[in-house]
């Protein structure tokens, strides 16, 4: 059975988290939250083309994991990738510009939301195909070891994604090759509109790790510090050459699967949504930071304000950016 690590956040050791880490986590989460809520508004206003899978609610996972990584560590992401990109340090300007389909975007406007990447930040891309990023992360970890580097690769995926073949094959491949990969399952309880109980018999996705001979731990995905501790352990382990492991973060998405609000079918009860929202990961961290004395309310507010400005500036940048030139349609189909 997978080890449940979320309890740790209540123990005394937790108090030793440095203010530095708390502030780092907080800033990453606020950036994601504001990036996403503003993107949601733009989508509702009909200003963004394409799909939008918002990450709001899950910020503690991206922040907690990314705070444990170096710039040269690699991540692969999913259709719900903005949070990972923001937390890994991808520029908000390039991200918004991409959502707008501008030539200044992270993909030169060619990829959109589901292909945001930044190789300088180790962000190996969102992905429109469920599970497809898993083996790609395994390949990135392979490359690191091959080159004698000590960077690790982290792959993010949902609860639903653990039912697809690529996840299974990628996990076993990483295990048998002993590669430095951390598998992070963001279990938000749903695959699109299907609850976890409708797509697997297990309660804990982390229990799947045993099928590959790798450890699996469960963490409270609304508790950024808990995620961070679990990630730091897994990353240190992988970096030391002890092979892959899996972290299941129990979390929740506050928006609909795609877009801003549900279309029809109330697949989640109001009570359930309210319960999870009461455990908003940013609120939790802020309350704790203030209670601990790790940060003052004013300091936290300053982060919000600063980030709000940055987001507004990034949106303005995107809107002022030129569109791609249709004459360049064949750009980047091939190298060389």
């Amino acid at each position: 059975m997978a080890q449940r690590t979320s309890k740790k956040s209540a123990d005394p050791a937790a108090n030793q988290e440095t203010a530095q880490v708390v502030k780092d986590l907080h800033e990453r989460m606020v950036r994601i939250r504001l990036f996403e809520t503003e993107a949601g508004k733009l989508m509702e206003a009909g200003r963004l083309p394409g799909f939008l899978h918002l990450y709001v609610g899950q910020e503690a996972v991206a922040a907690g994991v990314m705070a444990a990584l170096r710039d040269d560590d690699q991540i692969t992401s999913t259709h719900r990738g903005h949070g990972h990109a923001v937390a890994k340090g991808v520029g908000l300007r390039e991200m918004y510009a991409e959502l707008y389909g501008r030539v200044t975007g992270a993909c030169l406007g060619r990829g959109g939301s589901m292909h945001i990447n930044d190789l300088t930040r180790g962000m190996l891309g969102a992905n429109g195909i469920v599970g497809a990023g898993v083996p790609i992360a395994v390949g990135a970890a392979f490359a690191a070891r091959y080159k004698g580097e000590d960077s690790v690769a982290v792959t993010f995926f949902g609860d639903g994604a653990t039912n697809i073949g690529a996840f299974h094959e990628g996990a076993n491949m990483a295990a048998i090759l002993g590669l430095p990969v951390v598998f992070v399952c963001e279990n938000n309880g749903y695959a699109e509109f299907t609850p976890q109980s409708g797509h697997m018999l297990l309660t804990d996705v982390a229990d799947r790790a045993a099928a590959y001979g790798m450890p699996g731990v469960i963490v409270d995905g609304m508790d950024a510090l808990a995620v961070h501790r679990a990630a730091a352990d897994a990353v240190a382990r992988a970096r030391a050459g002890a092979g892959p492991m899996m972290i299941e973060a129990k979390t929740y998405r506050f928006y609909d699967h795609q877009g801003v609000k549900g279309l029809r079918h109330p697949y989640r009860s109001d009570e359930e949504v309210a319960e999870w929202k009461a455990r908003d990961p940013i609120d939790l961290l802020e309350a704790r930071a203030v209670a601990d004395g790790t940060a003052t309310r004013a300091e936290l507010d300053e982060v919000w304000q600063r980030t709000r400005d940055e987001v507004a500036e990034a949106i303005a940048y995107a809107e002022a950016s030129p569109l791609p030139d249709p004459a360049d349609l064949l750009l980047n189909v091939y190298s060389g």
């Binding site: 799909f51 060619r110 589901m114 429109g128 699109e192 299907t194 349609l329």
Partner: protein, 341 residues
């Protein structure tokens, strides 16, 4: 084989009922399920949610969870479930949501469903229907916009239909389900909401029979899926200029009714094929290759192909618009064909 035009004619003038493409699909599917107790539907979010494109709306209410099955994200197992159930006498309808996802389950479609009857010496049939949404135009980018009919039409044992409007969305779906072979139904995403006349009763459209959507004497335009509507729009525009184009909708791309095309080209002496898929290696190549052979002595110009350029589908709407063929490019192609002596 006059069922199509008959069904159409049967709708009393003026009072004809209109239905959207996706509702027409849904109605055909529901009627096929009523007709045959062995038909069931499986896929991701097809039951409780009714499908992300609303293709399966209300079917859970009528048919219940025995016949409407939500599955995990496991397309290979999903198609395999369909293959096994079809081999055991059911008539599964399996939904792949976006056609682009076919890469994770092509083995089950191509090496299992399509070949099983042949490899097994004819011991069984695989009456499996696979539904999926294809096509660009919604800013869905490179992994959610493809038209991959050329892959499937190259596979002996499969059939492939590409409804071009509400009427064919219903009739081809019914025929696909009634057919004893694996049939892939490629719905077009952009067309989902477009309305057309649709008879209320259940009707099939014969697989492998092309439809002449408009008659004309100057150029034969063979258009796949959504391009049929674009070709008809181009025809309207050209008619103003005195050019009459004939528009052929193959409806089924495997088997492909080439006789209808040949007969038309032998009259018009000029042919253009248009599809959303990239031109290179697209079905336009097959159609052009067959026409230049069968109508060699009748052609006044080479068969012209219009498709997407050789790149993944771009995200930015400004690029996507330039990428997907449209009425303007079709009209321009016709004019170019007519300029050749």
């Amino acid at each position: 084989m006059t069922t199509i035009t008959e069904a159409r004619a049967a709708a009393p003038d003026g009072t004809a009922r209109k239905l959207s493409y996706v509702k027409a699909f849904n109605e055909g599917l529901a009627q096929a399920m009523r007709e045959d107790e062995n038909v069931f539907v499986a896929g991701e979010d097809v039951a409780g949610y009714g499908g992300v494109f609303r293709m399966f709306d209300n079917l859970l209410d009528e048919f219940g969870p025995r016949r409407m099955i939500d599955t995990p994200i496991s397309e290979a197992a999903l198609v395999g479930l369909g293959v096994g159930a079809a081999a055991r006498g059911l008539r599964p309808v399996v939904d792949l949501m976006f056609m682009d996802f076919i890469g994770v389950c092509l083995d089950q479609i191509v090496n299992q469903a399509a070949k099983m009857k042949y490899m097994f010496g004819g011991a069984l049939s695989v009456p499996l229907t696979i539904t999926t949404a294809s096509g660009a135009g919604l800013g869905a980018a490179a992994q959610h916009s493809q038209s991959l009919e050329a892959w499937l039409a190259h596979v002996p044992g499969l059939k492939v239909v590409m409804p071009s409007d509400a009427y064919t969305a219903k009739g081809l779906t019914v025929s696909a389900i009634r057919d004893d072979n694996p049939v892939v139904v490629m719905l077009n995403k952009v067309l989902l909401g477009s309305a057309g006349e649709v008879p209320e009763e259940i009707y099939g459209i014969p697989l492998g029979q092309a439809h002449t959507a408009r008659q004309g004497s100057d150029v034969t335009v063979i258009a796949l899926g959504r391009m049929v509507g674009e070709a008809l729009a181009a025809a309207d525009e050209l008619a103003v200029q005195g050019v009459e184009i004939e528009v052929i909708d193959p409806r089924t791309v495997q088997p492909l009714d080439t006789e209808t095309m040949f007969a038309s080209v032998r009259r018009t002496n000029r042919a253009l094929v248009v599809h959303e898929a990239v031109t290179f290696g697209g079905l336009g190549a097959e159609i052009a290759a067959q026409i230049q052979d069968a109508a060699f002595d009748h052609l006044d110009a080479p068969v012209l192909r219009i498709g997407a350029p050789f790149s993944p589908v771009p995200f930015s709407p400004v690029l996507e618009k330039a990428y997907v063929p449209d009425r303007a490019r079709i009209a321009e192609g016709c004019r170019r064909l007519l300029e050749r002596s």
